[in-house]
């Protein structure tokens, strides 16, 4: 196949994903929209009645909402890892999958950002989190990790969105020149007048490199900052120096699992098997396996550190995790995050999309549980026995959680039908590079 034919094939394949959505796609959109409505209704109930409709009460004042926040920020991480970090390392296998991961990042942060606001109880006061001149001369406290979070997550959202939109520019131009009607106008909007001249590419390539360079430290900083929300406190089970690397590895682990969860059905539904091959899935599975081992090491290390030395509140809290009221959730988490990924040592499993999908779904469940267990057991079983309290999520919290999944998938489903889910320009570049290597 000639280079021009390879280019044309890539473009045809991606363009075919931009057709009118089928019944299955519409049905999924309706389900996602219904979940959003259910979540929105539950949130409105919480706003009108108050936080007592949730299960939050002293001492467990952080629970499902903060679990969801940490979970979705974690999901958002792998997108930047794939698009920025692997771009800087010139990893060829990222080309076919990074756009899906980037979109997932943006929608993941959009979802995560809702939860601190939902958790506030009085969402109309959310703007108090930002420093702004006011008549009382009050300023936010920059020594608080919660303020670091506001800046870290906002920056992450803005930089990830820019990175996604800038990456789409040449692809939108390619689709614009091959489309008609409203789609042509849509692609023209996202193409920003792009013509593909050498002068545009000269500045674009440099700017893209800088976006990647800026986004790379964000991969490590944002979830480190999120982990400090816990580690900077003195609560047993939270106050630990291993939290930043533990959270970053967990974030990449859960994010990669979510990329697989999205990619396996997507490549089939959009007929992208030629572009997103089993080799790409294998590469993702290897990252999942590696990060699973790091996360498992962190679980073990947490216990080893707590069990060394004399009796302590830390030891009591960690033993409570493994043998207390939340033990079934803890052992489910271990099964999902530490045991199930071990199957990825087998090549056959890594090359079987259905098996990958099942394992990635288990990891999604396991990582949500991990955040829940860290947050809730620390608060439910702290230093003072008389304040121990068993927390159970209520219907409102469950509905808002389901709504957040609906919110995330709704935007993702809209995205894959309106904008290219695979980078056309980078795939074309890869064709030429592969020929040179061959």
């Amino acid at each position: 196949m000639s280079v021009a034919e390879a280019f044309a094939r890539i473009q045809r394949t991606v363009q075919a994903t931009q057709r009118r959505p089928g019944a299955g796609h519409i049905a999924l959109l309706v389900v996602a929209a219904a979940a959003i409505v259910a979540g929105g209704w539950a949130w409105s109930l919480q706003i009108s009645v108050g936080m007592r409709v949730s299960g939050l009460n002293r001492p467990v004042s952080w629970a499902v909402y903060i679990t969801n926040f940490v979970f979705w920020v974690g999901i958002a991480h792998s997108g930047t890892l794939l698009s920025a970090v692997l771009f800087l390392f010139r990893a060829r296998h990222r080309t076919a999958v990074f756009r899906v991961a980037e979109a997932m990042t943006v929608f993941g942060v959009m979802t995560a950002g809702l939860f601190p606001i939902i958790h506030l109880g009085r969402p109309w006061l959310a703007y108090w989190l930002f420093p702004y001149p006011n008549q009382r001369h009050l300023w936010v406290n920059f020594r608080s990790p919660l303020m670091w979070d506001v800046f870290a997550v906002s920056t992450y959202f803005i930089v990830s969105s820019i990175f996604l939109v800038v990456g789409i520019v040449p692809d939108a131009a390619a689709l614009r020149d091959a489309s008609r009607g409203w789609r042509r106008r849509l692609y023209a909007f996202f193409a920003f007048g792009w013509r593909g001249t050498d002068e545009e590419w000269r500045h674009y390539s440099r700017a893209y490199l800088y976006f990647a360079a800026f986004a790379t430290p964000l991969v490590f900083s944002v979830h480190s900052v999120v982990s400090w929300d816990f580690a900077v406190s003195i609560l047993p089970g939270w106050h630990s120096t291993i939290f930043p690397p533990y959270f970053v590895a967990g974030a990449i682990f859960s994010g990669m699992a979510m990329v697989i969860t999205l990619l396996v059905p997507l490549r089939r539904a959009l007929h992208l098997e030629d572009l997103v091959t089993r080799d790409h899935l294998d590469m993702l599975a290897r990252i999942v396996l590696l990060t699973s081992l790091i996360v498992t090491y962190s679980y073990i290390l947490e216990f080893v550190l707590a069990l060394r030395g004399g009796p302590s509140a830390e030891r009591r809290t960690l033993l409570y995790r493994a043998a207390g009221d939340y033990a079934p959730l803890f052992w489910t988490m271990i099964a999902c995050n530490s045991a199930a990924p071990l199957l990825l040592f087998f090549r056959r499993v890594r090359f079987t999309p259905a098996a990958l999908l099942v394992i990635s779904l288990l990891i999604n469940v396991g990582m949500w549980l991990e955040r829940f267990i860290i947050i809730v057991t620390g608060l439910a079983h702290d230093r003072i026995p008389w304040s121990w309290h068993l927390y159970k999520p209520r219907l409102v919290e469950a509905a808002i959680t389901v709504g957040s999944f609906g919110w995330f998938f709704f935007w993702f489903l809209v995205f894959v039908r309106l904008l290219p889910a695979v980078s056309i320009a980078e795939m074309k570049e890869a064709v030429v590079e592969e020929r040179h290597v061959d």
């Binding site: 920059f142 020594r143 020149d177 091959a178 050498d198 440099r206 700017a207 800088y210 074309k428």
Partner: protein, 168 residues
């Protein structure tokens, strides 16, 4: 810059790069290209200087660092509330805000610079438009007239151009 010259269409970046090298060796200084991706050999053949974006973006990031520290120190001094026994101006936590603003302002400046330089470059080194150049073909344009244009046409054909035409 002039848009009078010769436009050639190539199906492969390799012969397009060779044609660019040959044109430059023949004394044509204004050689431009339009392509669906930044093919390294063609970019190298065009031998354009490095983008001025580097220093501007770096300045944006440094301004971000300054803004981050200024915001934290300024607000801490404006409302001096001791928390956790820490000093009012406590630098280690402020490094986080300074870092985040360095990334944020650096990225925004990078974006704005890209928009300005990319737009200006598109106008200054215009390549006659063809929708195929964002699809599966590469366009190479050389500003030339008269005998120079005839020589360029011959060179393009010699290097396997699919299509050669005069424009402007």
């Amino acid at each position: 810059m002039s848009t009078e010259g010769v436009l050639a269409v190539f199906a492969d970046p390799a012969p397009a790069a060779r044609a660019v090298v040959a044109l430059r060796a023949a004394g044509h200084s204004d050689v431009r290209a339009a392509m669906p991706a930044p093919f390294p050999e063609l970019v190298r053949a065009l031998d354009r200087p490095r983008s001025a974006l580097d220093s501007i973006t770096l300045s944006g990031a440094l301004i971000g660092v300054g803004c981050g520290f200024a915001l934290c120190i300024g607000t801490a001094l404006a409302w001096p509330l001791v928390t956790g026994g820490k000093p009012i101006v406590s630098i280690p936590p402020f490094v986080i805000i300074a870092f985040e603003l360095a990334v944020l302002i650096g990225a925004l400046v990078n974006l704005a610079t890209l928009a300005v330089l990319g737009g200006r470059g598109r106008r200054r080194r215009e390549v006659p438009g063809d929708p195929r150049f964002s699809g599966d073909r590469i366009g190479v344009f050389v500003a030339a007239a008269g005998t120079g244009a005839e020589a360029a046409e011959a060179l393009f054909r010699e290097h396997g151009a699919e299509e050669v035409r005069r424009v402007g």
